[in-house]
Symmetry: C2
Subunit: 205 residues, 2 copies
Amino acid sequence: MLTALMSGHALTATELAQEAGITVQTASSHLAKLSDGGLLALRKQGRHRYFSLSNEDVAQVLEGLMGLAARAGHLRVRTGPREPALRNARVCYDHLAGDQGVRLYEAMVARKLLAVKDKNAILTKPGAAFIGEFGIELEPLERARRPLCRLCLDWSARRTHLAGGLGAAFLERFYALKWARREADSRVVTFSRRGEKDFEALIAV
Amino acid sequence: MLTALMSGHALTATELAQEAGITVQTASSHLAKLSDGGLLALRKQGRHRYFSLSNEDVAQVLEGLMGLAARAGHLRVRTGPREPALRNARVCYDHLAGDQGVRLYEAMVARKLLAVKDKNAILTKPGAAFIGEFGIELEPLERARRPLCRLCLDWSARRTHLAGGLGAAFLERFYALKWARREADSRVVTFSRRGEKDFEALIAV
DNA sequence: CCAATGCTTCGATTACCATCGAAGTATGAA
DNA sequence: TTCATACTTCGATGGTAATCGAAGCATTGG
């Protein structure tokens, strides 16, 4: 919820609950605590209650915390109880989104397999070697008209993951290796126990 | 423990446990988590393990967090389980120390009843009015040789509270009003239920 | 090699917090 | 008035984390 408020916009309790994937009751209790703690400002407007970060300092500290988390590779956003599977791993068009998608992307950036500049990603030389070792053929992807690497924003509009031809290739490879499969009638991607372990090893630094 | 490490010195697990008022076992588990999280750096030296903040950014973020907490008046340090009463309120020479002592001091600073400059505190005009209303006679204190306002550091050497003639006068007044009493054979100061409430009201902004 | 010191790991207990259904309050619309 | 919407409060539940005693590991000094 705090991350959502980093935009600077004021949001209602219901919107924030949706953002966080929790019920309004739960959100209400947390928002009350955050307000009491002086982190949030409250503006009543009719039957709506708009919450926003109380000042620039709060945003600054959050920015700092997120920076520390990102550097340590611990940006795994703690998922709410609502639809946890969906938040963990899901299909976004034809590539992997959700926590696992974000982790894959961030690990690749951290290991300099991807070079990100101006919201565009480029596969580095070590990156090309990496995907080759993982069993993805680079050539046909490069020949295709589709861009190799694109960045995709999560619904929360805060978390980036890898899309484009390479993103799709990764997911296909996960399917082929039986690391994961797609649930019927759902966007949920389920990792097998074994697959999860191998996936962890793949993205480990 | 993080606060203790803000000094920039590296400290051992045992020292940090003492600082936090917890056992070494508990400290060890927390230190392991903080290290895993990338907040702490570890230097082994013989049978000692020295922990320190891993980099300047961590210190920066902590500083920011403490700033937010201080501004909101929520600097009440979460006390460990060991000797909680002692940490909450105790006698330091002849004035109030522990969380309650710190809160009193910080509330007075926040309300500009005390002006702090260069680690010296001065009672402001509103401050003089405040203590008068509270039933402390200023004149005899000012005539005494003892300094009116002195700042005293907690054993943790991180938390400031009010000492000097005024600090002593406050504690005396708390005794006189039956807000608090000193436990026998102990430095612990116990607030009555009523006294706690009135104390809260006194320091409320 | 043994004892002492510094620290970690294990296991069990306890306290606490998040969570959400249900019910209550407040505002606005019909 | 009555209903609908937005939100909070209450209460019960389950899960999780802090805590510490006991035991284990590692280093040093004798």
